[in-house]
Symmetry: D2
Subunit: 140 residues, 4 copies
């Protein structure tokens, strides 16, 4: 699986937003993509929790990695996704775990769980579901 991780890390390195955020790819196989993010002080909303936009970014990105690798590393984009926030995200890190649910030639449907981690306890904070498309699958 090393080549998947190499490919994934190369893509992540090209995402200036992920570099700025500090996102790490910790697992990438045909059945799972895992991204981790140290939660910084500048990632919060007005109630002191991680901003929903940070969680949706993590879900979007993990869904894309899961779908892209399932489609054999083809260049992909996220066409759409849906996210339900289920608990306030409090902790030192976020972990997003995504998996393909159905993989076709041009699209993969994936699901993702996002966890907040505090002193190693993981709490589910959001669940997401979306469509990853091979480029060209969405119009330019």
């Amino acid at each position: 699986m090393e080549s998947f991780m190499e490919l994934g890390n190369a893509v992540l390195a090209q995402q200036s937003f992920s570099q700025m955020m500090g996102t790490k790819l910790t697992r990438l196989t045909l059945s799972e993509a895992v991204l981790e993010l140290p939660l910084r002080e500048d990632m919060k909303q007005q109630h002191g929790f991680a901003h929903g936009g940070v969680l949706s970014y993590m879900a979007d990105n993990a869904l894309t990695f899961a779908g892209g690798i399932a489609m054999k590393g083809a260049p992909v984009v996220t066409s759409e996704f849906k996210i339900n926030y289920v608990r306030p995200a409090v902790g030192t890190r976020l972990i997003a775990r995504a998996r393909p649910v159905h993989v076709g030639r041009r699209q993969a449907v994936c699901q993702c769980d996002v966890f907040a981690v505090d002193s190693e306890r993981e709490t589910l904070v959001a669940v997401a579901q979306g469509t990853i498309s091979a480029m060209g699958g969405r119009e330019e």
Copy 2:
């Protein structure tokens, strides 16, 4: 409407993530919330477009402002939303325009259009729909 803008700006000032991103609130009425974001070099994905996570953050945040003000400024959270990316986001700024579609006592359903702006031409890049809940409407 000045008091809405004051309230909105006070909330935005408390969002450390929005401060770090550089988001501005440019309009906030009972029927519309508009957020703007100068697109920086550190907000991109691997194809050079604005990262989907940046767009989803803008949609999430605009939906929340539209729903919160429609519910008379009560403390709110975004319970869930869905976003469709329709074009690559290229330009110097993003504008997210959200409006309430239905307002209840404890929840508002809102829709949001996200535009990329380049030399003053606006291009629709994403559409979103979601639920904003008065705090306590989502479980703690």
Copy 3:
């Protein structure tokens, strides 16, 4: 626009489920599809309102017509959609109005409002957003 209506009615006539439900196509242009359904006693849920599944069927179908005609009548399927129910659906008819938000070569993103009608007053009961794909756009 007559040819659009003819095409649409031909498709609707081939949907045995729509025939059984009693759905009528009342408008079909490049910018809007309108479906109507007389609400029967056998379309309710346990609280006496129209069943959510009836509303989601209407939304799904109207989205598909709007997207299909926007893609020039190509054979299409609904890839995905999201629906928010905003009020109980009470009345004698449902009306679903869908419109394309973005049209590409292989996909159209559409939005739909569903209304319940009672003695000619229309009440918004659901809003939906989804992706319509040219066949082949979803994997067989």
Copy 4:
């Protein structure tokens, strides 16, 4: 678990739409709701597959049962859901399996897989995710 099944069957019996469709509740526990539907000739779309509206009805209903029982049998409504269709639904029956992902006092977030069954082979045809609310959680 018999009392859950009794409660569930009583609710299903009150849904005139489910009676007309022929839906059966085959399992209802705190962690899963399973609905089954014999696919009839009058449930198809123009390509000969089960209509997307039939699948979305099954998902909507299974999500509601899973969320309702997880919230201890309180009267509930589906506030919103999202569905991805992943394969044409061909077969003699549909099975919808839903499970709660997060359960709060007033809302439950649930996921659902919908399968088409032909000669006992199950094929995943759709995945859904949504919010079930205790009545009063959505405005009347």
